[in-house]
Amino acid sequence: MSSHHIISAKTYTLIYIVLMVLLVVTVGGDLMFDSAMFRTSFALGIAVIKALLVVLFFMHVRYSSRLTWVFAGAAFVWLFILFALTFNDYLTRGTAPERLFEAPIGGIVVRQTPVNPEHEPSSVMQRH
């Protein structure tokens, strides 16, 4: 049973070291890679790995009963549903046939602005 399983201080230390290394890797990736899309996926991917390590070892789900797995997993199943159904709506708006010739609803307004030769051509923001 879970209450009898003692995770050694050595295991905790190892996990802690891995977490700190991953933190450094996150920052390193943010400074190193050029592609914005890749940097975002990279940072979030590492966050998922870090979260899994914390949940499995620090929260000792790995050594807990099957029922605990179900309870812990349920949280993330519902989270997945929340995101899946939300984006099922927002990412597909404006794609229905009658909408094809309209501007995307709530799209990035800055980009829809007609070009005004006196100002910057397409965007009001300067990239950093």
Binding site: M1, S2, S3, H4, I6, I7, Y12, I15, Y16, L19, M20, L23, T26, V27, A36, M37, R39, T40, A43, L44, I46, A47, K50, A51, V54, V55, F57, F58, M59, S65, L67, T68, F71, A72, A75, F76, W78, L79, L82, F83, T86, F87, Y90, L91, G106, I108, V109, V110, R111, Q112, T113, P114, N116, H119, E120, S123, V124, M125, Q126, H128
Partner: protein, 240 residues
């Protein structure tokens, strides 16, 4: 059992096990019930933060430029230092749970105090960060509206899209303050719980047999850590 029958003392034996509530058969069952209860609560917490994060994700998918521009004005290095502080705090909490399972009273108290101190350090650093943000007028509302020229000197206020852009920046800042704010509230709750546990532990309340409260506080504390693990890339490293 009829009243006339004598009470079998063995049947009541487990009532005298320290820390075992009478409605549980044994420590394992009690611990399992506590674990499941805690995870049910944490599931609601996942969805509590999940709702805010889903809102954030929807707006970021639309206002990516403004979100990235605003995010670049936050202090990434403070966020990174705070992540390290919180991970270390979680590590100390894990060691406190480890000590509790061995019934080592002195170690439980030491590691709980270290966890609390690191948690307080996180909150102090966060407070300093809020102050620095405030000083740079990164606060949605009048402060931002009156000073945005200093934050975005390249933006032409006469451009038709600029007002929308500046509103989107403030929307990001709202998410920044609300997400880090509710996270900080969770930390204050966790620290309060651990202060109580540290006092009880110092009085020898927890043993190798009975230590569920420390384990449960640990689950909560690590959960708060997991939330922050996601807030770091989502708030401080927005790319577009």
């Amino acid at each position: 059992m009829t009243p006339s029958q004598p009470i079998d003392p063995h049947a009541l034996d487990h009532h005298h096990v320290k820390g075992l509530a009478h409605h549980f058969d044994d420590m394992d069952q009690q611990h399992e019930a506590a674990t499941l209860g805690m995870w049910a609560f944490l599931a609601t917490e996942v969805l509590f933060f999940g709702g805010a994060l889903a809102g954030y994700a929807v707006y970021r998918s639309r206002y990516g430029d403004a979100f990235a521009a605003a995010s670049h004005h936050l202090y990434l290095w403070i966020g990174v230092i705070n992540t390290a502080v919180l991970l270390t705090s979680s590590f100390m909490m894990a060691l406190a749970v480890n000590a509790a399972k061995q019934g080592n009273r002195k170690k439980i108290v030491t590691f709980l105090i270290l966890t609390i101190l690191l948690g307080l350090a996180f909150l102090c650093i966060k407070g300093i960060e809020y102050y620095l943000d405030y000083r740079e007028h990164l606060v949605p509302g009048n402060i931002f509206e009156a000073n945005w020229h200093e934050i975005f000197p390249h933006i032409d206020g006469a451009h038709p899209g600029s007002m929308m852009f500046l509103r989107q920046v403030q929307l990001f800042l709202m998410f920044y303050y609300i997400l880090t704010g509710i996270h900080a509230v969770h930390m204050i709750v966790g620290i309060s719980v651990m202060i109580v546990l540290a006092v009880k532990a110092s009085r020898g309340r927890y043993t190798a047999e009975y230590n569920s409260p420390i384990d449960m506080a640990g689950l909560y504390w690590h959960f708060v850590d997991v939330v922050w693990i996601f807030l770091l890339p989502l708030l401080y490293m927005v790319q577009h």
